[in-house]
Amino acid sequence: MFGKRKDPIDRTPHPRSPDSRRLVVSESPGLYVYAVDEGEVIHVVPDGPHVHPTILGLARPALYAGEIEIEASGVVGEVNNLSGTFQFRSKRSLLCVAGMLVDMGFSVRSVIWYPPDGATTPKRLVFP
């Protein structure tokens, strides 16, 4: 279960990227940024500079956000909470994202949680 929705720190109403799409298990390998919308759907955009605000667009809130690296079809090498735009802190919600990926048919190799205060090293959440 996700925590409360969060508005982007960048409140500029950036238009939604034309590359933004719902994540599917057949997505091509590569690095993506993601945001979970209020309907608990994971949307992705190929990685790029400051693209988190364009995943949902128009400064819409998200339930969670970060990066997803797809190593091969159906294999997530890493999912994390790295997003300067949203800066989510919840480990529980990150595990929700990982669980959604598994339910979609992905194999998830690592779930990395980056502490929001930057004072400790990242944690690899051990996912059953």
Partner: protein, 153 residues
């Protein structure tokens, strides 16, 4: 104290692109950029225990003094005399000297990742940042799921 990412780089455009990416994704960490190996060693010494990762260029020809003698090898030699504590990236177009740096560090058990610059600064988003994040992720400490506390938002 916040963890720190340390980068030896002399090119202003590269530095701007690296800063942009780090500020966008890892704003919670301190970042230190310098074209001076001496300054890098000073920070690595003063912030020992706080260093999350280091990224080293070799050639530093854009330095104000135009020196060809002062290079990233100076930092690699310093690191080779210390115990490995964090991942090191080598981002240099000088393949021969980057190989030398990598061999020296690997011989002393440092975890080293090579990134080869290409196409102006586009490699920074395409290769350097993902390699840096992967290297940091590899050093992440495991935490069992039942212990994952719920933090608001």
């Amino acid at each position: 104290m916040r963890k720190i990412i340390v980068v030896l780089e002399d090119n202003a455009e590269r530095i701007a692109a690296m800063k942009l990416r780090l500020e966008d994704r890892m704003p919670m960490y301190d970042c230190f950029f310098s074209d001076d190996p001496g300054e890098i060693v000073e920070v690595l010494t003063r912030r020992k225990g706080d260093v999350l990762a280091v990224s080293l260029d070799h050639d530093l020809f854009d330095r104000a003094d135009g020196s060809t003698e002062i290079t990233g090898m100076d930092v690699a030699e310093f690191l080779s005399r210390t115990e490995p504590e964090f991942p090191v990236l080598i981002h240099s177009s000088n393949a021969i000297d980057a190989d030398r740096m990598q061999r020296l560090l690997a011989k002393n058990r440092w975890s080293v990742t090579r990134v080869t610059p290409f196409n102006d600064t586009s490699w920074i988003g395409e290769d350097w940042y993902p390699a840096l994040r992967r290297a940091i992720g590899k050093s992440a400490m495991p935490e069992l799921v039942p212990n994952a506390e719920a933090i608001a938002d």
